[in-house]
Structures are given as structure tokens and as C-alpha cells.
Symmetry: C2
Subunit: 338 residues, 2 copies
């Protein structure tokens, strides 16, 4: 336990508490002799500043909350890591909060700031929409991620989903595929992300002069790879034919790979597959998975840039940043030879 207090050090060194504090904080105007004496006392006693007291006195916590749907989803765990590392670099700690896509939990997210637990919040909402967010969020430094809610009043970072989906579909087209499926729309739970990606997919096809076939937009039961595998097999079983699949995320793509394999189709020979998020999963599969790759380090950097400005008092309308993306080519939809 941090039994040793500032005043204990001060007494041992024969100085005031404030001087010890100054030494701890590397305040420049401390006489060298004194500094060493105080430092010796600190080391002697094994003094550690009590962060709670410091926080109360300063009003700053040095912590930021990261609220995500699930910590054990590959994309979010990779994102968490990036953000935690970027935050550490800037002297903050990250408190990860799981919402489990639950409305109540999402509403609770912003309370943390009110309770003085954190200085700012990074929030990837699923349920809350722009209006709810705009009303709840008053003066909490907040940066939103994802596409679910984009209130104009709040800072927000994402990739250009439409463009990314379009580029992926265009790559499939460039590979000579003409019957391209989209996997998938979760039954009764169509998210904004899915929507944007679907739009990009459609744009690519239309611009290539291909008629849209609604049957090629597959519907799945839920967000599990299993349901995607089932949907893929079911589609093939009822006679639907396609030679390319654009998936809304890597887990969906794994489901597609399983479904195709079990239906006796070869990837990429018979069907090319593209995933989304470029998580570690993409290199673990058979065949390895071509995937849309958001620039995660950049995402972390931009997000923290915005948040830090807000925490430093920046006021004003919401800033909206697009972060670059690219296509990471692997076996399931190989790069074009040139």
C-alpha cells in the first residue's frame, strides 16, 4: 500500500510538501542540492504519489474511456490495442468499457465522465442514434467511431465505407467476376454500417453496367460466422449462383469460406471472397483472406488528436474525419497481375 505520503517525505528531507511536489514534477526552479536531498528521501521511503488525491486536487484523471460493443471481437480488440498504445504515448490510460450493443449500457457510457472517472470518451455506438447522442452529450469531450450515429455536433472518425465497398467490389469485377453477392444483411437488424457498404457495392456494379440482383444480397440470422456459412450454403442450395462475395466483416467472410468449402466450391477459383477490417483472422484462414483494411494506427491517432483538443477545451461544431483505407490482398481475391 502507498503508506508513504508527501508529508512524510517532506519531514524526512526537512522541506515543505510543496517542494517535494515540485521535485516529483520536475519543476525547474529547485536548487540542485535540495533536489538530490529530496530525491534521496523519496527513494528511501519508496514514496509513490497517490493518484486519487492528485486527481481530486487537479480535476484531471489522465484516463479516457473507450466504449466498444465487445472486447473479444477481433476488430475491436485490435482497435483497443491501437488506441491504448496511442493513448499511452500521450500520457493517458484507457479504461475499456463493453456495451454489448446494449442500449442501457450505451447510455451509461457518458455517465463515467460525469462521475469524474475519465477526462474524455471514445465511443463506438451501435444502438444510440445521432439525436440521442446529441442530447445526452453536453460538455463531455467525446469522439465517436463507426457509422451508427453521426450527430453534426460531435467529433467523429470513420473510413469512407461507401468508397471502400465500391473499391472492393471493383476489385472483384477486375478479377472477372460478374455475379457478386453481398454477405450480408442481418435479419431484422440492418445497421448503418451494413447499409453504407451495401451502397458502395451497388454503385460499383451499376457503374460497371451490371444489373442489380436483389437475390445476391444474402440475409443472415445473426452476426455469427455459423449463420453466414448456413446462409451461403442455403443460397447455393436453392440454385443461386455467384462468383464473388463481398462480406461486411471478416467474421462474415470466414462463414462464407466455410459455406463455400462445404458446398464444394473453391476459393478463389470458383468464388472470390473479400472481407472487411483486415483483422488477424484474415491471415489465419484457408485460403487467406483479402480484406478491406482501415488504417488502424491512423484511426487511433486522429481520434486521439480530436479528443485531446476537446479535453483541452476546444469548443465548436463537430469535426468529421475520414481515415484512409486500403485493400490487403491475400489468396481469396488475389491482386491483379500487372
Amino acid at each position: 500500500m502507498g503508506r508513504v505520503r508527501l508529508i512524510d517525505v517532506a519531514e524526512l528531507a526537512g522541506v515543505s510538501m510543496k517542494t517535494v511536489s515540485n521535485v516529483v514534477h520536475d519543476y525547474p526552479h529547485v536548487a540542485p542540492a535540495l533536489r538530490t536531498r529530496v530525491q534521496a528521501a523519496i527513494d528511501d521511503l519508496g514514496y509513490r504519489p497517490n493518484l486519487t488525491a492528485r486527481r481530486l486536487a487537479t480535476g484531471r484523471t489522465g484516463m479516457i474511456a473507450l466504449a466498444i460493443p465487445e472486447i473479444d471481437h477481433p476488430y475491436f480488440s485490435e482497435l483497443s490495442r491501437r488506441i491504448a498504445e496511442e493513448a499511452t504515448r500521450r500520457g493517458y490510460r484507457v479504461l475499456i468499457e463493453q456495451t454489448l450493443s446494449d442500449t442501457v449500457a450505451e447510455h451509461a457510457v457518458l455517465k463515467d465522465r460525469e462521475a469524474g472517472l475519465v477526462d474524455g470518451v471514445i465511443f463506438h455506438p451501435v444502438r444510440m442514434d445521432a439525436i440521442e447522442l446529441a442530447t445526452v452529450h453536453k460538455d463531455t469531450p467525446l469522439v465517436l467511431l463507426g457509422e451508427a450515429a453521426i450527430p453534426s455536433t460531435t467529433d467523429h472518425v470513420m473510413i469512407d465505407n461507401v468508397a471502400a465497398a465500391k473499391e472492393a467490389a471493383q476489385h472483384l469485377l477486375a478479377l472477372g467476376r460478374r455475379r457478386i453477392a453481398f454477405l450480408g444483411v442481418v435479419d431484422g437488424d440492418i445497421t448503418v454500417s451494413t447499409n453504407r457498404r451495401l451502397v458502395g457495392y451497388q454503385q460499383a456494379l451499376v457503374e460497371a453496367g451490371i444489373e442489380l440482383d436483389p437475390d445476391l444480397v444474402l440475409t443472415v440470422r445473426d452476426f455469427s460466422p455459423e449463420s453466414c456459412a448456413d446462409a451461403t450454403r442455403a443460397a447455393l442450395a436453392r440454385g443461386l449462383r455467384f462468383d464473388g462475395v463481398l462480406c461486411r466483416d471478416d467474421k462474415f467472410a470466414l462463414g462464407a469460406l466455410q459455406g463455400l468449402h462445404r458446398s464444394g466450391l473453391a476459393v478463389p477459383e470458383d468464388v472470390a471472397v473479400i472481407g472487411w477490417d483486415d483483422t488477424a483472422l484474415a491471415s489465419y484462414t484457408l485460403p487467406t483472406l483479402t480484406s478491406i483494411a482501415p488504417d488502424k494506427p491512423r484511426l487511433a491517432k486522429v481520434t486521439l488528436d480530436l479528443l485531446e483538443e476537446r479535453m483541452n477545451g476546444h469548443q465548436g461544431v463537430g469535426r468529421h474525419r475520414l481515415v484512409p483505407h486500403s485493400l490487403t490482398f491475400r489468396e481469396s481475391a488475389p491482386e491483379l497481375p500487372r
Copy 2:
């Protein structure tokens, strides 16, 4: 910002701060009339207690640290989720800390408690050994996970690695496999976990009257699936033959699946594969992966039981708990028909 303070509520309601505090804490002996009046004032003003101040006054933070090597490793992110959920159930929040298997970072883990950031620490060490831990850890409530360091003085939770490895190997034997490889030993970085698992593997073979072949213990470059795939292919290429592989974790197993596939071998027909940790990965692969499954909910529960007792002042020697494990059967090493 939580501008509203306890005293503001008190003044509005015309009572003392302490009475408001009592209402906030549901202290039973508050006159009903007063309680409603105070509650109204709280609601009116939108009062939220300042947790930092509370912590300073009580000396409790309500937080526990979870220090793990990597947040984006599937096993650790699943573990984090379990532990966070169990902790939430008990009224704690979890502060996740990445050590990246770095010695310095591991040593820093215990400082958090000293700084009063958390009430207790759950720590999965990689580098620190029992002796270091025993000396550093004085009176911080601490529970260790994993097999790296087991100082007798500290509470510790793990599964029986030797037994689990033995059972897995025995399952491969029961499937009629006789040439069983172990994947693998990381070159120059053999961990205690790997060692325990290797021992169990060897016990099973010896008890089955099979002579140990050191060549069957494969060496890999690092902890990536890629290096495991390479090691598998290289082994096959140099003429090594085997019909079963026991892997030290699921990521290694994914590498094995890739390597076997690329070498033209079928799983499980030619070679049966068993992974370790039963992470989500295991159901995503082709074929799906049989894996040793630690009872993660139980692990979380036991860990928090121990930690809570320590945080409540329990003294005494380290308690060492084994948590149950089982084998989750999937395609790569199917369950025996009966």
C-alpha cells in the same frame, strides 16, 4: 462536467451533506419524507457523486487491474471479457493493462496498486519468475494466472496443464494415431506453459508404450501462426511423418492447419489436430478445430473469489487453485463414436 456537488444538493434540500450522502447510499435510517425531498433535489440538479473524491475519502477505488500480455490475442480478449463481466457483477471495474510480455511493463504492473489506482491486481505474467514476484509483491492483493510464475506466497489460478495435454494426446491415440507431433517449442523462448504441456504429451505417449521421438517436437521461430505453418511444412518436407499434432495454443493450431493443407495433407484423415484454449478461432477454421477448453467462466469466478478475499484483508500463504478443463470436439480430431 459534474458541476453539482453534494453540498449544492444539501443546500437545496435544506439538510446536511451527510444526509444527502446517506440517501445516495441507501442508508436505511433516513426518514421517508426527507428521503424523497433529498432525492428530488438530486434529480433536480442532476447530481452525480464524484468518484475521485469518494475514493480519496474511503481509500477504495472499486477498480481492479487485469494485466495481460496482449489484449488482441483471442485467448486474452476472451478472458478479459469474462473477468470484466464477473467483476462488474461484483461491483468492480476492470482496468486492462497490456504488458506485451515486456519485463519492464510487468514490473510496472504492481505500481498501480501502490499509486492507489486499483484495489487489486490480476496478473498473467510471462517474464517475471516466482522469485521476482515474491519480492516485489508485498501487500498488494494479487492473483496470478498462467503457469509462468507460481510463487508459493501468492494466490494463483490455472488449469492442470499436464493433465490437459495428456488427455488431448490420449484422444489422438484413441483415434488410432501413433506418430504424434507437438507444436511447438519457440526457438530460444521456451515458456513454462509449453513445458508443462510437453510433459503431459510425453506422459501420454510413454504410458501408451510409444517411444518418444524428439524430432516430433517441432521448433518454431516465434508465436505467429505463419511460423507454425512454415515449421509444419518444413518438417514434412524433410521427411518427418506424423498423423497427429498437439498444439500449444489455437494460433499454433491454425498454423498447423495451413501447413498441412499446403503440404497436401487432409485433416483429420491424414493428420488429426488439437488446439489449446478453445478460442473463437476454433470454430472459424476449416476444418473446425478440436481444442482444449479451460473453463473460462469458472476461471474468472475463482480468480475473483480469491482476489476479493485478499482485498477484504485476507492474509496468509498463497492459495493455488486448479480450474477444470475439457476437450471441445470439432472436426480436426472428432469425438470417438460409441
